[in-house]
Subunit: 215 residues, 4 copies
Amino acid sequence: MSTRSFSLVSRDLAAIGRRFYARGWVQGTSGNFSAVLTQRPLQLAITASSVHKGRLGAANILRINESAIPLGARRQVPSAETRLHLEIVRRRGARAVLHTHSIWGTILSESATNGDGVTIEGFEMLKGLSGVRTHEHAEHIPVLDNDQDMSRLASVVGETLDRHPNAHSFLLRRHGLYTWGDSLADAERHVEILEFLFETVGRGATFRPPGGEGT
Amino acid sequence: MSTRSFSLVSRDLAAIGRRFYARGWVQGTSGNFSAVLTQRPLQLAITASSVHKGRLGAANILRINESAIPLGARRQVPSAETRLHLEIVRRRGARAVLHTHSIWGTILSESATNGDGVTIEGFEMLKGLSGVRTHEHAEHIPVLDNDQDMSRLASVVGETLDRHPNAHSFLLRRHGLYTWGDSLADAERHVEILEFLFETVGRGATFRPPGGEGT
Amino acid sequence: MSTRSFSLVSRDLAAIGRRFYARGWVQGTSGNFSAVLTQRPLQLAITASSVHKGRLGAANILRINESAIPLGARRQVPSAETRLHLEIVRRRGARAVLHTHSIWGTILSESATNGDGVTIEGFEMLKGLSGVRTHEHAEHIPVLDNDQDMSRLASVVGETLDRHPNAHSFLLRRHGLYTWGDSLADAERHVEILEFLFETVGRGATFRPPGGEGT
Amino acid sequence: MSTRSFSLVSRDLAAIGRRFYARGWVQGTSGNFSAVLTQRPLQLAITASSVHKGRLGAANILRINESAIPLGARRQVPSAETRLHLEIVRRRGARAVLHTHSIWGTILSESATNGDGVTIEGFEMLKGLSGVRTHEHAEHIPVLDNDQDMSRLASVVGETLDRHPNAHSFLLRRHGLYTWGDSLADAERHVEILEFLFETVGRGATFRPPGGEGT
């Protein structure tokens, strides 16, 4: 892929980061984002490690190969979670992977009582997930234990993706959301849809209809 | 109506979409908006299907006739919920119809215990609804079951509007709000007023006055 | 006061309206704002009735006399609540009066169990109210029943202000907040401080320290 | 340090203030911010007292010496809490100190049951605090009683910092957060991380997983 394409993708990734920061989904240096540049050989554009997402620019996006080795002249280090991005791209054929740290995603990640995940069903908004055609869909969001050992975590991510072939996302417990798509636009829409659902389920869980308001 | 009017209405609908997106009421591709262009024959300007509302532009607005058939050269498909817009325009004589997917609207849609709706009364903000002159007004918001069969749902919407001649809106369960008005400005104001009331009733339902704060 | 001053004050009032709208404190056409132009004879600049606050411009501000009669060429009607503004200006010597409809103000207005008001104490933020020097201050916010009869309500407001000479504000039940100041900047700061306190008290009322978090 | 550096630091402090104001963390005139200009002799740039943070400009930043005496021609008074900033700079070697008044910080400040503080652990976001390498970290945030006597409070702050050598911050009860860093960027990131954690812990405390949502 030409340098020009890498420039355009870098600019798009940086713009997504600034939009998510404005919404409070990637406070500080949290979150990381990637998009596939070429499939053979596999090359990704991915955010550098430790960059503040409110100040993310195209210059903070690196080009890496399938072994997570940076290509080109930039001297920054790719995100520590690069292996998870590569795992998702390989297992799902995703063209873009987005990882956020939101308040409601964090809270929901603790609601999985059997350690296996959260199921959300019956909402029209589910139709915003690729391939979902009806609100009667039940979307399962696996919840994985957080881990600082990226090699071990990548392996758990791989197994989880295989065990849940229809999942559009997963949550790392007390950490955040990973979702992906056939394009950056698809992946960004998935973040918006899932964040909406997390907040709706989270707020709705404490809601009790007031006596005088229901008919 | 002249092409110039269609241009102006398209620009207004797109601006409303972007404002609602910024408030979190139409995340992703959710929501759809329409305005009457001419009454005889009936023609509507309406959002195309599957457009992201944060990037909505005048080019994503279509002109359709009373049978929901697109007119003109644009090759996009009108919103799947076009029939609901037409039903509301015909039964209410509305000049504009707005449909949003908000968190509190979704939560409130589940609070109707007998399947018939939610009644909100006693708030000054109710005076923002057309024709309401006092906070002592009781506004009934019918709640309808969600349905992917638009022909069947349009028929339920029609019956509901006839059964509740004073309603300014209705909610589709776990889906969102429909409201309308004599102009786009009236319909937009109705969205703001109803969203305020949903959030106030929703948050207020969990509020308990602290011992030390009430006199 | 010269026409130029009226222009400047109108522009400031409109800017406040748009800022409050962006925060969700004056949705739709709710809220009204005024500032004293001259004291002898008393003249106020005040928002016209039924103007959407997100689109408020200097042209929507009217000049009125002490009897609430509009002066000058503009043909709009002053806010229905003009009498309350005049009452506050006369009893308090206020130079600016701001009225908002916020979600937490509405919810808190229902927490006054004996019909007399809400007392908030012990917060550092109270020092943002004019003349308050310590967080140990107890601020009483009288809550008045809402009423569409402005003459009767103005009379209740007058009595309330006399009975609570230290109050910086009052709430109309299920309606909104009135506060004032020696300048528009003082009144705007009072709105911010009081809204912060309403939200803090409102959210704090449902908060229970989690077992594992407190030491 | 040259005048030019003071100009740059002033501009940065003012920009931080406006960003925090937009997020609702320094409503009205609340909050104050400082950065070290020179270490020998110690000079700080610090916000003037009683400035509205939404309108904070570089002209509202003062240069002070180690005794909190303003240097230079500006006639404004430094923040009443200047002594706390100096205490933190001396005890921690911090290059920047930021103080905010947020809703969730205020609420969390009341959750310390034994008067000693709040401990937050197990969140990935903790890694945004300088020197923290794993989510398994337990961050203790001391909570101090609020006090209008700045000399006495500075002394309590000093003792607290010595007693909690690993703390990145402390809360003043019903008042707000103090945090710091090796640079303004570090301190700003600490505010974002801590506010995220306060809000997550605060909202999470009322969350109960809904029966039908957990698997």
